[in-house]
Amino acid sequence: MATSKDESSEKAQPQPVMVVAIDESDHSAYALRWTLDHFFTAGNDSVFKLVLVHARPSATSSVGLAGPVYAGAAEVLPIVDSDLRKIAARVADSAKQLCIKKSVNNVIVEVVEGDPRNVLCDTVDKYHASILVVGSHGYGAIKRAVLGSVSDYCAHHAHCSVMIVKKPKTKH
């Protein structure tokens, strides 16, 4: 595989894209760190193009969770929305900081509103990614059935290879 010698953005082959899913949880931060350590060493950012994507839950869906009928929903929505935006910005920011710390520049960070499963699969399609990296909350079978598992869905439905990085349980 020819490493391109010129620094211009002309590359002989299209650069493979790696999409990493991030959210507020520790698990995804761990997944991002693990990926950076193993795949983006020493600022070698010429192999994979890194795209970070955060799926922001939409305000309506979050309020909807509070209960099917919520009289004051209309007033609460803008507040919930700005709150979610702040959280999303914070997540995106800390992820970008992490990348810079590992000297990986040139990272695309996207915050998309919607259900994580669809957002991740759509992002993969948009960038024609070769790998999708997700963390895993490590739910057991029952939690998984009730809460649903994004990593599971992506492993089955994404149009590319999926890497699931689990945070090791620290009870050695």
């Binding site: 997944a31 193993h38 795949f39 020493a42 290879s161 699931i164």
Partner: protein, 194 residues
């Protein structure tokens, strides 16, 4: 890039020692999917390491290590009726032995094919043959060898098939402690994609 190499190389040199040596385990079976996974993994993951070593002046060999693991399902000794009336039963040991031998030969052929692929790409590889239920054995092996990444192919089963046939990659994705990479076969998805 190489003109700038002079000053950057010293940094790179130190960084290369810091570089993580990835221990990777790839699950192999007869399916094309697992060989595709092996090739894909070797191309995409290990070139991360080769590209750093070609840019720098040091001649680090590829530091990654691949463990190829093949699990043979246990062959059950079934009992075969013999004799005209079927009154006498004994496990046909001849049958059992020949099946076992066939299985071993097949495993050996598979793994040697996989090892050859690794050798062609100049990546160190070792092979392991295990017996038992593929799902558990793969997860156990990954844990015992403390691999950094477990790589599996995927047969691309649909939901229903997955529920009935069971999926080894599914099981491992849930139960393996190590990060797992599931490589999908190249797409006929593009046709379905509207």
């Amino acid at each position: 890039m190489e003109e700038l190499g002079g000053g950057v190389d010293q940094v790179r040199g130190g960084a290369e020692e810091r570089r993580m040596k990835m221990k990777v385990m790839v699950a192999i079976d007869e399916s094309d999917g697992s060989f595709y996974a092996l090739n894909w993994a070797l191309d995409n993951i290990f070139n991360v390491m080769t590209s750093t070593s070609t840019i720098g002046t040091s001649t680090h060999e590829n530091e990654g290590m691949v463990f190829l693991v093949h699990v043979e399902p246990i062959f059950h000794n079934y009992v075969y009726p013999i004799g005209p009336s079927g009154a006498a039963f004994y496990p046909a040991s001849v049958v059992v032995d020949s099946v076992k031998k066939g299985q071993q030969e097949r495993s050996a052929a598979l793994l040697s094919r996989a090892l050859q692929i690794c050798k062609d790409k100049q990546i160190k590889a070792e092979s392991v043959i295990l017996n038992g239920d593929p799902r558990e054995m793969i997860c156990q092996a990954a844990e015992q060898m403390q691999v950094d990444l477990l790589i599996m192919g995927s047969r691309g089963l649909g939901k229903l098939q997955r529920a009935f046939l069971g999926s080894v990659s599914d099981y491992c994705a849930h139960h393996a402690k190590a990060p797992i990479l599931i490589v999908k076969p190249p797409d006929e998805h593009h046709k379905k994609h509207s």
